[in-house]
């Protein structure tokens, strides 16, 4: 059985910024098999559909998973009100497409926008000094995960839209500079669609492989209901694949961005 559904204990809860929470959950079965880029599907009390949340950290030894999420609506608000010791109803690990991990001596550029940053943390840790993390936020008060990214020596470039922290401007500008400045074997990105589209373009331009993590509203979370469709061009033909099963991580070249 690849998937597990069960209730698991929230063992640590931290608030990282206004409306952004960091949960450490004891769920050994899921931690055992989860890989970077996958997600879990979390039940929010009082709501019908589960909420997909990316895995931000996997600690096999301690049997824990880390997730970082932002309050965006009523479901995430309910989740944010859970307390240490509370049980969470979780399905996971989900996602067929996950980040391809190259050898850690390859040069990786990792680009995150806002709440798209959390799933990228394990990548920064993997590539260590060979990673450049470009992470963008609205403003200083929304900045999260900077020390997590830097932990294994990654070069972390912080951008904010208004310049209140780090450089002022978009992550795409910083990405262009980085790609012009030096070697890069792979790009990873997660964040708003417009950002992903620009990054995909830049990667194509430079001929660098690029993997992006997509979001779509979900029903079953495992590939059974076909609601989480995304347009993918593969083997010359266009089709709807599904974020939950074929993704959430896709080869950026294959993703068709809507206009």
């Amino acid at each position: 059985m690849k998937y597990t559904v069960n209730t698991y204990k929230l063992i640590q809860k931290t608030q990282l910024a206004k409306g952004i929470f960091d949960f450490c959950i004891y769920c050994p079965e899921i931690a055992e098999t989860a890989v970077c880029g996958q997600f879990i599907n979390v039940k929010a009390e009082g709501f019908f559909l589960r909420r997909p949340i990316s895995i931000c950290g996997i600690d096999r030894r301690n049997g824990t998973l880390r997730i970082v999420f932002e309050v965006r609506g009523k479901g995430t608000l309910a989740l944010s009100k859970l307390n240490t010791g509370d049980m969470m109803d979780i399905t996971g690990p989900l996602g067929g497409g996950h980040f391809t991990m190259l050898s850690p001596d390859k040069k990786a550029v990792i680009v995150g926008g806002g709440i798209g940053n959390p799933p990228l943390v394990p990548l920064a840790l993997h590539y260590g000094k060979n990673a450049t993390v470009i992470s963008g936020f609205r403003n200083e008060s929304a900045v999260i995960l900077q020390s997590d990214f830097a932990k294994n020596g990654a070069d972390v470039i912080l951008c904010t839209d208004d310049g209140s922290a780090g450089r002022k401007g978009f992550v795409t500008d910083a990405l262009a500079e980085r790609l012009d400045a030096g070697e890069c074997d792979i790009i990873y990105a997660c964040g708003p669609m417009v950002m992903l589209e620009r990054i995909a373009k830049a990667a194509k331009l430079h001929g660098i492989p690029c993997e992006i993590s997509l979001e779509e509203r979900m029903g079953c979370g495992v590939g059974g209901c076909l609601v989480c469709a995304c347009r993918i061009s593969r083997n010359g033909s266009e089709e709807y694949l599904h974020v939950c099963k074929d993704g959430p991580v896709f080869n950026a070249n294959e993703v068709i961005f809507n206009d």
Partner: protein, 303 residues
């Protein structure tokens, strides 16, 4: 013990009366990562059309109180793919296979039914009630004439048991059921989804790209129970009940209303184990009351 749960439905043996509903469970493969498919009484596969369809633009799902709207729009790889790639796999499992089919035209229904006739699917469920496609679908299911027409054509195309899947978006569902019965349907299944809509008040746009979608989940359960009751009282052919079932108690209620077997759809989104939990609950219920599950069908005593 487990025999208590066995039900004969149109001559097909279901080892228990619980079946994942079409469109919510794919072709079952994914859920084998949770439990063996043979746990289930049967499976109603994703609605299959004559040729591959890509479905509607996303977003295709919207949450609602105790339910959800979907507007998948019959994305599927087409009947040939189903027969070649999915059916053989399903037939290696011990459960009844219901082929759910849909078409834009009467001819398409006929063609699919004919192709299925020579396969070993156990029965054909004919969706004349999909609210999410422009042509066909619900257009046939909302009038007696349309329902009768499709029943007739499918009936003549196959010797498999034919189960017509009815739309709840009608004034008198019993009348539609009777129209299907009179053209030779072996069973009816109901309800498909209720047409609904949600609007994102920030963007002032419908949440679903298709604007409207089909409501299912616990929210619709009382409507489904009422319709199953009305239909079971109006026709002699057996009824497969669905719409909002999420617990074994719901399944019992639906059967008391008149269903012989049940399908479980959106509840699977909230809990992928729902069908299994329902089967376990029914099993305990039968043991505790020393009955076979088929005895309870239609036993509600109206006031």
């Amino acid at each position: 013990m487990t025999d208590r749960l066995a039900v004969d439905f149109c001559g097909v043996r279901f080892k228990n009366p619980v079946i994942p509903a079409s469109g919510t469970f794919g072709y079952g493969r994914e859920f084998e990562e949770f439990y063996p498919l043979s746990t289930l009484g049967g499976i109603s596969v994703k609605g299959t059309t004559g040729t591959k369809r890509t479905g509607n633009l996303p977003p295709r799902i919207a949450e609602t109180p105790s339910g959800c709207l979907n507007s998948v729009g019959l994305q599927n790889p087409g009947i040939d793919h189903f027969i070649a790639e999915e059916l053989p796999y399903l037939k290696t499992k011990e459960l009844a296979v219901i082929a759910n089919i849909a078409g834009s035209t009467a001819d398409e229904y006929e063609e699919i039914a004919r192709k299925l006739d020579s396969t070993d699917v156990d029965m054909i469920e004919v969706n004349i009630s999909c609210p999410n496609v422009k042509a066909g679908g619900a257009a046939f299911g909302v009038s007696c004439q349309g329902a009768a027409e499709i029943t007739k054509i499918v009936r003549s195309a196959t010797k498999k048991p034919v189960m017509m899947k009815l739309s709840p978006n009608v004034t008198d569902i019993a009348e539609i059921a009777r129209a299907c019965e009179s053209e030779g349907a072996d069973a009816v299944s109901l309800i498909n989804t209720l047409l609904g809509m949600r609007i994102d008040i920030r963007t002032r746009r419908p949440v679903l790209h298709n604007n409207t979608g089909g409501l299912s989940g616990p929210a619709v359960f009382p409507v489904a129970v009422r319709m199953v009751w009305q239909v079971a009282n109006a026709v002699k052919i057996p009824v497969c009940g669905m719409g909002g079932i999420s617990t074994w108690e719901d399944a019992v209620e639906m059967m008391m209303a008149g269903a012989r077997i049940v399908q479980v759809g959106a509840a699977i989104f909230a809990d992928p184990m729902a069908p299994v939990k329902i089967i376990d609950g029914l099993s305990e219920y039968c043991q505790a009351n020393d009955i076979n599950i088929s005895e309870i069908s239609g036993t509600v005593r109206p006031w």
